[in-house]
Symmetry: C2
Subunit: 470 residues, 2 copies
C-alpha cells in the first residue's frame, strides 16, 4: 500500500471484469424442493448492519432426512468441520438442519471454537424441536463457518440470531432461498443459488442449493504501532449446501456426493489453495417421494445412477459459479484432458494445468501458449496401472493441444501429434479474447477407457498481486 497511492491505483485501467449480471437470479421459485424452510439474517458477525451473515436451513419433511458431507482434507480442520463430521457419524447419516455463518471461520480457535460450533448446533436443534417435530437424535444439525481465521465467533450474537428464527420467520419461497444464499457470502460479488428438477421412476423431484466462493483476500492489519491479539486473516473457503426432496439412503447419498464432489468442487481452481473449512453438505428429505420409495444403489441401480448424474451436474453448476466469481478472474476456462490411462491421471493433469501460474498468466495475456500447457501436462507423475503395476509413459508424438471456442465456431489445433501447428494468429486471438473457452489436451494413451476429466479454472490477472497490498 505504501508504494502505490490510491490515485495511482485508480489510473491503472483494469481489463473490465466481464458482466456477471446474467449469473445472478435465474431461478423460478416454483422449482425449489418441498419440505425445506430457510432464513438468512444479519446476526452481527459482520460489522455492516443489515448484511446477512447467518443462514438456517431446516427440513420439515415427515420422512427422515438423510445427509452426507464432503469435508476439506486439510490437517488443520476448523471446528465446524470436526463437529459436523461427529454429528453425521453418530447419527449414521441423518441430519435435518444446516446452520451457516459468514464473517468468521471459527478456524484455529482451539477448545472455545469447538464449544461455539456445538452451541450453534444446539441452538438450531432447538428450532427443530420447538417449531417442528422432535427427534430420536441428540443432535441433527450440521454447521459451517467462513471468514476470518484465528478469531472466536461472537457466539452470543449468533445463538440469539438462531433463536430469533421460527416457523413464522422461516420461509420456502424464492426470497427465503435468496436470503439464505446471501448469508453464505464473504467476498463473493453475487449470491450463488441454483435449482433443477429431475425424474426417477416417473416421480418428479427437485434439487436446489447454494455455495460461496474462493478468493485471495489480504488481512487488514491495524495502524502501525498498535498491537493486535489476532490478526484479521480472511481466507478462501468453499462452502456448499444442496437440498433435495428425493428420498435417498444414507450410504447412497454419501457415495453419490463423493462422486459428484470429485467431478465438481474438486475440479475447480481459483488460486490453488485448500482451506481449513471447505465443506459440501447434501440433505435429502423425501418430501416428494412416494411412500416407501428410497433411492439406493443396491436395490435400484438405475434410479441411483440417474440421481448420481443429476447431483454431479448440479454440483458442477454450483462449482462453476465459484470460478466465474473468482477474485481477479476475467476468464472462465474449461480444461479437458482426454486419452489418459485413468480418470485419476486425467484429473491430476487437468488440475496441474488449471493451477499452473504460468498457464494462468498466459490465459490472462490471451496467448496461445501451448508450451506452458505441455510443460504442466508433462510434470504430472502418472499412476502405476491397477492391472499390470507398470507406470505408463506419455508418448509425446501422440499428444494434441487444441483451443476450443465457446461460441460453436471451429476449434484451433496448436499442437498435433506432438508437432507445433502453423497457427493463424488472428484466429487464435479471436478465441482467446472470449470470456469462455476450452483447452483440450489429448494424450492418445491406452488405459481403462475412463481417462477423461474436466477442470474449470480462471486466469491470473493483475488483481491477484494487487490484492496482496490493497
Amino acid at each position: 500500500m505504501s508504494f502505490l497511492s490510491k490515485r495511482l491505483m485508480s489510473t491503472i485501467k483494469m481489463k473490465p471484469t466481464p458482466s456477471k449480471a446474467h449469473h445472478h437470479y435465474p431461478l423460478p421459485s416454483s422449482s425449489f424442493p418441498e419440505g425445506f424452510v430457510l432464513g438468512g439474517i444479519h446476526a452481527g458477525v459482520k460489522k455492516k448492519a443489515g448484511v446477512p451473515d447467518l443462514a438456517v436451513i431446516l427440513s420439515t419433511s415427515e420422512r427422515p432426512t438423510t445427509a452426507a458431507a464432503c469435508f476439506t482434507r486439510n490437517a488443520f480442520k476448523a471446528a465446524p468441520v470436526i463437529v459436523s463430521n461427529e454429528v453425521l457419524k453418530k447419527n449414521g447419516g441423518y441430519a435435518r438442519a444446516v446452520v451457516v455463518n459468514s464473517g468468521c471461520a471459527n478456524a484455529v480457535t482451539g477448545k472455545q471454537g469447538m464449544d461455539d460450533a456445538w452451541a450453534m448446533v444446539q441452538a438450531t436443534d432447538g428450532l427443530l424441536s420447538k417449531s417442528y417435530k422432535s427427534s430420536e437424535f441428540e443432535h441433527e444439525t450440521l454447521v459451517m463457518s467462513t471468514g476470518v481465521i484465528g478469531q472466536n465467533l461472537p457466539i452470543s450474537k449468533i445463538v440469539a440470531g438462531i433463536k430469533s428464527q421460527s416457523a413464522a420467520t422461516l420461509g420456502s419461497d424464492f426470497a427465503a432461498w435468496e436470503r439464505a444464499a446471501q448469508a453464505f457470502m464473504t467476498t463473493d460479488t453475487f449470491p450463488k443459488l441454483r435449482s433443477r428438477t429431475f425424474t426417477i421412476g416417473g416421480v418428479e423431484y427437485r434439487m436446489a442449493g447454494m455455495d460461496k466462493g474462493a478468493g485471495m483476500i489480504h488481512p487488514d492489519m491495524g495502524p502501525a504501532g498498535t498491537t493486535f491479539s489476532a490478526p484479521k486473516q480472511l481466507h478462501a473457503t468453499l462452502l456448499g449446501c444442496i437440498m433435495t426432496d428425493a428420498a435417498v439412503s444414507p450410504k447412497s447419498l454419501q457415495s453419490a456426493l463423493t462422486y459428484a464432489v470429485d467431478r465438481s468442487f474438486n475440479s475447480i481452481s481459483v488460486d490453488g489453495d485448500m482451506s481449513t473449512n471447505d465443506s459440501i453438505y447434501v440433505l435429502a428429505n423425501g418430501a416428494a417421494a412416494k411412500d416407501g420409495a428410497v433411492i439406493d444403489e443396491d436395490t435400484d441401480k438405475q434410479g441411483y445412477e440417474v440421481f448420481k448424474k443429476e447431483l454431479t451436474d448440479f454440483a458442477a453448476d454450483l462449482a462453476k459459479l465459484v470460478v466465474r466469481d473468482g477474485e481477479g478472474a476475467t476468464k472462465f476456462v474449461t480444461v479437458t484432458v482426454k486419452g489418459a490411462p485413468s480418470y485419476k491421471d486425467a484429473h491430476n493433469i487437468a488440475s496441474r494445468i488449471s493451477t499452473s501460474a504460468l498457464v494462468k498468466t498466459a490465459l490472462y495475456g490471451e496467448d496461445a501458449n501451448w508450451g506452458r500447457i505441455l510443460a504442466a501436462t508433462g510434470s504430472v507423475p502418472l499412476l502405476p496401472s491397477a492391472s499390470t503395476g507398470a507406470t505408463p509413459v506419455i508418448d509425446p508424438k501422440k499428444v494434441n493441444v487444441t483451443f476450443v471456442p465457446s461460441d460453436g465456431t471451429a476449434a484451433l489445433p496448436v499442437l498435433v501429434n506432438g508437432e507445433p501447428e502453423k497457427v493463424d494468429e488472428v484466429r487464435a486471438k479471436e478465441i482467446l479474447t472470449l470470456e469462455d473457452f476450452e483447452v483440450l489436451v489429448e494424450l492418445g494413451m491406452e488405459g481403462d477407457g475412463e481417462g477423461e476429466a474436466q477442470y474449470w479454472t480462471c486466469d491470473f490477472s493483475y488483481r491477484v498481486a494487487l490484492r496482496s497490498v490493497l
Copy 2:
C-alpha cells in the same frame, strides 16, 4: 497490452527491486578447478550481436573424467536431455565435455531436434580429439539448451561456433569462466558463477560451476494479421553445470549429485512450474587428485560424505542465486519445516508452502499471514510410515509457526502450540520488510528423526501478472 498504455505502466511505481550487485562476481580466479578450459561466444542463436549464447566446457585432465546428471522428470523431455542421457548411459558415467546454448531450447522439435542435439555433441567431441587427447568413447559430450520452445536450433551457426573454438581460444582464467556463465543466460539479470575449495584426505580440491534461472516470460507474437509458423514461446528452464578437480567414481558421483540436487535445485521455487529442459551436470576430472585416489562411497565412506556435503552446499549456493534472480521476485524467503515424520514429508510441506500463490502474495504484501502458511501445510498428504504402514496425522496443538529475521535479531513466534500469539505488529513489519527472512514451521511430530527440510522461494509481485501482458 491493449488496455495498459506504456505511459500508464511507467506511472505504476514498482517496489524497487533489491540491488543484486552483491550477488555478481565475488570470485577469486585462483579457486577454479584444475584441468578445465572454457569458452563463451556469440554464435548467433540470439539476435543481439555480441551477446554470448554458446558455452563450451572441456576437461583437459590426464585422468578419466566422470560425469553425472539430474534431468527434468517432465514427460516432454527436450532433445538435449534425451541425447545427454544416452551418452552418459552408454559411457557408464564418463564424459569430458559440456556444450550449452541459450536462446533456443530445442524442445518439442521432433526428429530434427534430436539430429541437432547430436550435431552439437559431435562437433564438441571433435574439439576434444583435435585439440586434446583422443578417447575410447564414441561420444563424450553432454549438451544443454534453453530458450524458445517449438523452434529448431540454427544448427549450422552453432556447429560453426563450436568448431571456431580450440586450445587457443578456450581458457581457464576468471574471464573464461565468466564468459561461459554469461552464455547460459536467458532472462537472467546476472551470470551465476560460484567456486569453493575443500579438503579430503589432506588434499585440497576445487569446485566451480554456473547455472541459469527460471522466470516467467511472455511470448512475443507478431503483429496482428500475420501468420507465424511457431509462436515464440520462451519458458523457464534451470540449467546448471558443476566442475571439480577431485576424482570420484561414476556411481558415487551420481549418488552424491542426486542427494545434492534434492536439497538444492529441487528445493527452490520461483513460479512452481517444471520445464522440459531442466538439467544439472557435474564433471569430476581428478586433475588435483593423487595417483590412484578416487572418492567412492564403498571404499572411503568418510571422504565420500565430505564430498557429498560440499557438493550439496555448493549446489544450494547456485540454486539460491536462481531464486534471488527470479523474475518478479523482491524477497528471498527460506521455508524451513521441522518435526515432520520424514525428510520427504518435510520436503513436500516446504514445497507446498513455497509454491502457494496465497503465501507468495502475502510475502509480497509483507503480511504475517500464518493462516495461509497453516492452510498450505495442512493440505499436504503425509506418507505412510515406512515401518508401520500407518499414515501419520498432524496434531494441530503441537504446531508452531515463527518468522525468523536474517539480521540475527530475535525471532517472532506467530503461532505457538496451535494457538495464535499476540503479535507485535511493529516487530512483524520490521522482519517482513527485510529482503531475506525465514518462515519456520515446526510440526512437533515423531518420526524417523530426519523430518527436516528447507526450501528457498520468492514472493509473487505485480510483475508476475504484468509479465503476461508486457
